[in-house]
Symmetry: D2
Subunit: 372 residues, 4 copies
């Protein structure tokens, strides 16, 4: 295994540990080469109980033995003071206050919640794309009242945004800026958490609407693919891809799939003539993330796996490839309206959620932002 970590173990905590995303964090961290689960936070209803009693475990893999009997704490910073990293799988209705308090207590928070994604000082990072946005952290710390030394918040993107920005980033790196992008998603039910979508709504059905989802894709894509501008007085800001305006239009649908969001994507490049389908295939396949290059152990070798078969990717067959840490692309071909169209499939509960937070934290370790 490549990687530059020195081998020391780093204590981490999980907020929202009994929920769907929290369970995923626990499964991934239980096998992590250097992150070690040290504290688990959940609601006051779960606090004080053994984890196996507190959680309604709904994963295919059993509860890792090292957390079965761990006592769940309330989500208060004092219970996590020994943690160098805190992962948050909290629901949006409580994530804002709790993550704010954890940051103020000088904890490094890597959150899957949406609350801070639009914060002008919080990086919104898809770890295979824009780890460079970690450079916003010093400003986030210095603008805090009082200024922070170690505490900060990093968020990852919405699961359906993550799927599409990875190939888009590969295309922009190879061929320059995109001008427009049309996306239709066919999203898995696990994206709605548990209990989430009633079975009566989705069996033998498509629901052509997911509240707030289209807005997330259309906005988050700009923040992630954009750069960081520095104004005269030295203040940094996310430029929302404004140097080359990018129009994104999304149509979001829920389908009867357990895991794996499938998305049809069409793009128009600024560059004329646009690249050919074959050039696009090669660029996607060649794309390598900094996270992988710099040795983040959870980063996949194939950031984008490009299928040649005409009927792939398919969520059931492709979602577990590389433990769901990369994305799968197929059907790269010309589009009669824009330039190029393709299909992308990403595991919404892996790279679309907990895996992203973990790679983000690994990258922060590499960059020296985490003190073990």
């Amino acid at each position: 295994m490549h990687g530059v970590h020195d081998g020391k173990q780093i204590k981490v905590g999980v907020l929202g540990a009994t929920g769907t995303v929290g369970q995923r964090f626990i499964l991934l961290l239980a096998e992590h080469p250097y992150f070690v689960i040290h504290a688990l936070g959940a609601s006051s209803r779960s606090a004080g109980k053994q984890y196996a009693k507190a959680a309604t475990w709904k994963q295919v893999k059993p509860i890792p033995s090292q957390v079965r009997e761990m006592i769940v704490d309330e989500c208060k910073p004092e219970h996590f003071s020994e943690c160098a990293v805190v992962f948050s799988g909290l629901d949006a209705d409580v994530a804002g206050d709790i993550e704010t308090a954890f940051r103020a207590a000088e904890l490094a928070v890597f959150s899957n919640a949406k609350n801070f994604r639009r914060d002008p000082n919080v990086p919104l990072i898809v770890p295979l794309v824009n780890t460079a946005h970690l450079s916003m952290i010093p400003q986030q710390q210095s603008l805090h009242e009082p200024p922070l030394k170690k505490g900060f918040i990093v968020t990852n993107a919405n699961c359906s945004t993550t799927a599409v920005v990875i190939p888009l980033a590969a295309l922009e790196r190879a061929f320059g800026p995109l001008e427009s992008c049309m996306i239709t998603t066919m999203q898995a039910i696990s994206g709605a958490g548990y209990p989430g979508l009633p079975s009566l709504d989705i069996l033998d059905n498509v629901v052509p609407y997911i509240s707030g989802e289209e807005e997330k894709i259309e906005w988050e894509t700009l923040k992630i693919l954009g750069g960081i501008a520095t104004e005269d007085e030295g203040t940094k800001s996310f430029d929302m891809h404004s140097r080359h305006p990018l129009r994104v239009s999304a149509s979001c649908n829920r389908v009867a799939v357990i895991e794996g969001h499938t998305e049809t994507v069409s793009v128009r490049f600024a560059r004329r003539p646009p690249p050919s389908p074959q050039q696009v295939r090669e660029a996607l396949q060649a794309f390598t993330s900094d996270a992988y290059s710099l040795g983040c152990p959870s980063a996949p070798r194939h950031t984008v796996f490009v299928h040649e078969e005409p009927d792939r990717p398919q969520p059931r067959l492709d979602r577990d490839f590389q433990q769901g840490a990369g994305v799968s692309v197929g059907r790269v071909r010309q589009c009669r309206v824009l330039d190029i169209k393709f299909v992308v499939m990403a595991n919404n509960v892996a790279i679309g959620a907990a895996t992203s937070s973990i790679i983000n934290a690994e990258f922060a370790v590499v960059k020296g932002l985490i003190q073990a």
Copy 2:
């Protein structure tokens, strides 16, 4: 009931009567006000048997009593000589030869097969859209060797094309020509016939590919929405929307739905500024087909039903509205890349298949093209 038919019964035949589409024809014709099933054609394997023995009936409704004991014939014109109309639910691998023979025998053939859709003298008619294309029939007859008096072929469109051209036609009628259209389909398994799609391919899955489907949508849409040009020497031809070039791009997917194709659609109008979402909603809702206006009994009152709820249409809830003879539209809103986007859902086995053929024949009756 409105309508101008004089009440006389018209004898009809069904080709491919034991197949999936044939079964649908039989269910619809069994309750038809004036079409009466007179002959059933199938392969030589089925010929000579009672229909209930020959068909593997896979419909929710029972076999209509009037056809249970009807003897199935081979698909030869002599067995259908008393039929004024022949509906074809034949598979593409045999439809070409058989339909050719039936036309040559002076039979009026209304086909759901794809074989003649691209024929320059055969109308490709979605009956809620372009019944005017029946005007090509005299030329089809006169160019035949020998010229025909009564025989002709009319085809209806592919199911996924049908769903989208209906609202597109409504938009063009209200706001003038479209410039481009992007479509992503989520198509039901019944579109693949029986046995069709293996269950292992679609349960907990999306298949982002349907062979030939995207090409059908992109090509058929132009023939259907286009007009008929008359050249100097009087020859007519389908103009493929060439007066106002229209670019159509489709991405086709199979999802775990039994009936009802759901499609996300984005369009750009030639007219600037484009209509607002509210204007589009009103135009769609107001759109009435000539088939309905002229009294075709199978034409739906609401050609396009526009939903106001944010999460409709849904195939399971909306596919049986009006016996599946119209389409349902919802989520009409602005598109950041083109002008307007919306969702359309159509019952692929009703208006997407047999119902279209039947309304086409009803319209031909109204126009005096059928001699009972």
Copy 3:
């Protein structure tokens, strides 16, 4: 149509009108020949609103026009004083108190809730089986404090019980008492109401457990198939099949089916030798309910439809036969452990719920227990 009702309309109310069962009551009553919806009851949250606004309508058929703008009331007897019949689709947590109050207010309550099923004075009636148990109503009224003249409660059975007791009743009528019965159910998700079962629990899955369901089948079957005993002092009691003890064992499972409970059933007869499979088929097919014979308009002509095909009944193909008011049986064959085994399928939201309550009320009308 057969039937003895005099044609006068009878005003009815629906309790729990906005819920899943309530919506079914409304669909059925909207097309009823003499019951007319006069009042709708729901929680205080819905009270005062138009029905179309109060209900989250989840049915394939649209909201009937006559109730769209009807104002929903709270479930208090004074709002239903003009109703001759009240149908209850209330949840069990509130049904007890509300139905008690309605009965005390001299209203005839036909309930789908489980609360009074085990009450020694309340008939538990599957209308195709044991309408004779209505004879318990006078005792129910006379034992009430104060005695009642018109008010009473009749319940129908649990959906999975209903499916199996109908063929069991047919067998006992033809061949005398049963000794034992083993049942395994494969139940539809609609049996759990809405939102009911989370989609993550049932897609690509079987859940081999439904809380309380096996006990209901094992107990309710005895009450329904048993008779009414009269003790020396004239007191009547349900005899729980005690003259011929019947052992029932059920295993209940949830499967990914929207509507229609499928159950495998094996039975042992007291009579030796037991009837042959062919005799059983004939007896099932010949079984006619008193409800049908006496003209209840919602009672199906075929109480038990017996399939000859080896692979039927199937919920998707057979649940809508006769509007789901009868049951379908197939695969009648010998059992190596007990005597005879077969498969039964019943529509859990029709005869398994609202349809049963309505036929029960129709039968009570026939018997003069309802004063319009």
Copy 4:
């Protein structure tokens, strides 16, 4: 890892290598500690092609690299002469002739096909249950014309039989013979192979019939749980449990599950009083297979995993436990008709198919029946 194998690699072949079961054999053998894939056999249509070209790969895991470019042979013994073991995933229509030829060529054949299961000299072995039946092999060899030295055929059981005989064997070992057993199965679609079940037949549906399946369970259970009788002249025969007659009755159903057969089981013991549910739970949990005890590397540590949660086992959550090599039992409780009832779930494509063949071969290695 426990185990007595000496570490030498053993060359194996796979017949029917391109089919569903063949693909499973390949995935398992690619990671096997001592079996090494040496030859692949398929139909003449595939012969001569690279495996990755010949197979329509439908597994979640990618094609193992060591077989991607391996050339597929026809299923003729001369191509497999270097193999010490041949695994057969052939379809029943060809398995008989091919396996006969391979045995005659002195090859050891471990077959998943049904053809020889009822052969009086061929062991039908569920490897966690009756490996002792390998003792029939010498007689199989000596009765062959000409007598064989190394060649033989061993079959494993039908997938739905396998699931139930494992707990039944545990019960008989602990509590003595069973008298009767009632089984209802809810079987996964993968049991029907590929393309197998049409999606239109199973989505939103249950099919209460699988051709020949009930007979297999009822017959195979007796052969597997029975012993081997030796007659006066020394001839051995399978006694079909005849010393303690056992009546088995099965009802088989197909449900919308991808992998994992769930079965409800009720049993009656000869012994009175019967064991309590708690005794049964303990006996099931304690049951250890000889295959595991003697070090077969693919044998699971937990032959029967007993769940305490009321709603387990579930196929989606439990089928991958121990790579699907054991079975999961839950809901052990009293039965009102027989003695004890429970639910068992087994992975039909693992222990229900290829995994069984492989453990059988491992056991034959341990017993010295295979010469590497």
